[in-house]
């Protein structure tokens, strides 16, 4: 056991000290924040500036109501209006005014302008022009407010009372509540559940990928520089395998732990709710078993590899099986009881991902939990045994990669 721990310690410390580790440690959260959080932050970030928008109202009757609604509804800090409307046309040559408006936009005096044609009551067509039309929020707000204005006008024209119209308009604010096993209600949205489970699967994926890849690479390195022979004259192949798995798993855990801390710190900073996950211990069991299964697969698949390129290929193939459930994550969250999802949950490679997902959504029946756990545990034992056999023979094979029949023979050796 001491040798295993010595090896684990070495693998851990040497990798932790490496520049590559430091870079991935920093780069990964940066990328994650960049890809996942930043667009959301930007899109939902409240405006802080006042937009001056021009309006050319050919109907000559919509503008007052429209601008009043827009200014009242959308406010920024200090109760200032988000949008200020400037009437661009009081009469005269319409075309000249439109050209003038374009000039105003170009000069930056107005952000954009809305052209409401006289037949808007009939076909509802309007035009919005601006230098930056991808700011869909402004366009969307303009069209919604105009729609309200038009509806109101039509209703009044049809003889409805103005105060009645206000009463008719009800704002819908949907709250969704998740009912837990204990019967309590808990506020939670689909997205929250989804991401709760998702984070666990992503963590599993990252751990498997990062430590799996390191595992293969360290074996390849020791084969190329022939350190392998010195190691094997100091300890058994089994010590070496277990030591490596232990050391690099610790490394993976360390990495994920740091990322989680960064994540939690960030969410606290931003005031986001942290999803409290139920059945954490059960998730942990699936997590650990799943991780061990993949570690065994990486060892078995990686030991015969002799070059970095092959190592890359193997990593890609193995991680595919892990990524597959992520593709099915959305349907699985929406409908965890479907037969397909149940069946897939019993395939050991996919058990961890699917069960992590399903447990977060809704606790599956006990027989399914017990069944998948037993199956998963048995697969881990079998995979570890096979990996050990292959490892023992394959780490000394240089040159060409063994064929499948050769691998089978390795499994049979004493």
């Amino acid at each position: 056991m001491k040798k295993k721990l010595d090896i684990a310690k070495w693998e851990f410390l040497e990798k932790v000290r490496s520049k590559a580790f430091l870079i991935s440690l920093i780069l990964m959260p940066v990328l994650m924040v960049g890809f996942a959080i930043l667009p959301g932050l930007l899109a939902s970030k409240p405006d802080t500036r006042i937009y001056t928008l021009g309006v050319i109202d050919e109907t000559r009757e919509l503008l007052p109501t429209f601008s009043k609604k827009l200014e009242e509804k959308y406010r920024i800090e200090n109760d200032l209006p988000n949008y200020v409307i400037r009437n661009l046309w009081i009469g005269g040559d319409l075309n000249a005014v439109r050209q003038e408006a374009v000039q105003l936009v170009a000069k930056g005096e107005i952000y954009g302008f809305l052209y409401i044609p006289s037949d808007v009551m009939l076909n509802g067509k309007v035009e919005y022009r601006a230098e930056n039309v991808s700011n869909f929020r402004i366009a969307e707000r303009l069209s919604r407010t105009l729609e309200e204005t038009l509806t109101e006008k039509k209703l009044i024209a049809a003889g409805f009372d103005a105060s009645l119209i206000k009463e008719l308009r009800t704002r819908i604010d949907l709250r969704s509540l998740k009912i837990t096993e204990g019967g309590e209600e808990k506020e939670s949205g689909f997205l929250q559940t989804f991401f709760g489970a998702y984070i666990f699967i992503m963590m599993l994926l990252f751990m498997v990928l990062s430590s799996g890849q390191l595992l293969i690479r360290s074996v390849v390195e020791e084969k190329t520089n022939r350190v392998m022979e010195v190691l094997l004259s100091s300890c058994s192949a089994n010590d070496l395998m277990v030591g490596k798995i232990l050391g690099l798993s610790a490394l993976g855990l360390f990495q994920v732990a740091i990322w989680s801390l960064i994540g939690i710190a960030l969410s606290l900073q931003l005031g986001t709710n942290i999803v409290a996950v139920e059945y954490l211990w059960l998730l942990a069991v699936y997590f650990v078993l799943g991780y061990l299964l993949y570690a065994a697969i990486f060892v078995g698949a990686g030991a015969p590899v002799t070059t970095e390129q092959e190592a890359q290929q193997i990593t890609t193939y193995v991680s595919m099986t892990l990524v597959f459930p992520i593709v099915l994550a959305v349907p699985a969250t929406q409908n965890p009881d479907s037969i397909l999802i149940k069946v897939l949950s019993f395939i050991p490679f996919m058990t961890p991902s699917f069960m992590l997902l399903r447990i977060s959504v809704q606790l599956p029946p006990v027989w399914e939990i017990v069944g998948t756990l037993v199956l998963l545990a048995v697969s881990v034992v079998v995979a570890m045994w096979g990996a050990g056999k292959i490892f023992r023979v394959a780490i000394l094979s240089y040159g060409k990669r063994p064929t499948i029949p050769e691998m089978v023979r390795m499994l049979r050796t004493r």
């Binding site: 090896i7 490496s18 022979e229 094997l232 100091s234 000394l396």
Partner: protein
């Protein structure tokens, strides 16, 4: 110390080693010789328990390989390499701890060895920053820092300049004095001749010659003449009394049919060559090696 009997190891299609037996005692330098691909490395790997033999037994002080044997053996493989990105002293300490040496003690001894090899200033450098020769020194330190009882060195001298070869030779002799058994695998015969007590020569997986160096040389008899000369020596190999000739520009090794003809030979040379040295000697191990391997003789008992 080490006893190997009737070792046999097959790989998929070839028999790598067959019927190799050898005994190595403490305080002895044992030469494992043979041409490339003869099965030296396979024999070594089996002794070190890196691979399992198909047949035959290997015992250390009468006991089969066990948990404690790991820490009693040291190995310098022929193909050299280390963790390139790791620091020199850290690497040394890691391998020593794997061999059961306390890290603190390993660090202390590591310092000592680096000093003896005159590379103490590189202790904190990364391995890849070292020259090839210096990397080889590190590997050597790794193989012997834990004071093994059996030290296996595969071509230890190759890659060292003459100065370092002498340093290495001195170190090996020191270690041998500390009652360590050393197995020395090589095809550099001069080194073997200078250092080994007993040898085993294997060819195509089978032992063809084994025993003490002295006995083997005696067995091959004193029928060789070494001559340093000036002149055109091309005619030497055509002389009737010469059985085999190895002629260089200013030097030759001749094997005679009968050593008593050496006087005749000397007479023949007169007038043709300017002789600087004329010596009747035991055959060099090199010529025995060439003889045995070249002629594909069947196993010879010591």
């Amino acid at each position: 110390m080490l006893n190997v009997s009737n070792l046999r190891k097959e790989f998929d299609t070839i028999v790598a080693v067959d019927g190799v037996s050898l005994t190595v005692n403490r305080g002895e330098v044992f030469g494992l010789l043979g041409p490339n691909g003869a099965g030296k490395t396979t024999t070594i790997r089996t002794i070190l328990n890196i691979i399992k033999p198909d047949e035959g037994t290997i015992t250390f002080d009468g006991l089969p390989f066990n948990e404690r044997t790991w820490n009693a053996i040291g190995y310098l493989p022929e193909e050299r390499g280390l963790y390139r990105k790791s620091k020199v002293l850290n690497t040394i300490v890691y391998f020593a701890t794997l061999k059961g040496v306390e890290p603190k003690e390993a660090r202390r001894r590591g310092h000592g060895w680096l000093e003896r090899f005159e590379i103490l200033d590189r202790a904190q450098a990364k391995v890849e920053e070292l020259s090839k020769g210096n990397q080889q020194k590190i590997q050597l330190i790794i193989s012997l820092l834990h004071q093994p009882q059996l030290l296996v060195l595969d071509e230890p001298f190759s890659g060292f300049d003459p100065v370092n070869q002498i340093l290495l030779k001195d170190i090996l002799l020191d270690i041998r004095k500390q009652n360590t058994a050393i197995i020395f695998s090589t095809h550099q015969m001069e080194q073997v001749e200078k250092m080994c007590d007993n040898i085993c020569l294997i060819n195509k997986g089978r032992p063809v010659l084994s025993g003490s160096l002295r006995q083997i040389k005696q067995q091959y008899g004193k029928n060789s003449v070494h001559i340093d000369f000036e002149g055109e020596g091309g005619f030497l190999k055509d002389l009737p009394m010469v059985k085999k000739a190895d002629v260089y520009q200013n030097y030759c090794e001749l094997e005679l049919h009968d050593i008593r003809q050496s006087g005749e030979l000397l007479a023949k040379l007169n007038g043709h060559l300017l002789i600087r040295r004329y010596e009747i000697v035991e055959p060099s191990l090199n010529s025995i090696f060439l003889d045995v391997v070249g002629h594909q003789t069947s196993p010879v008992a010591p």
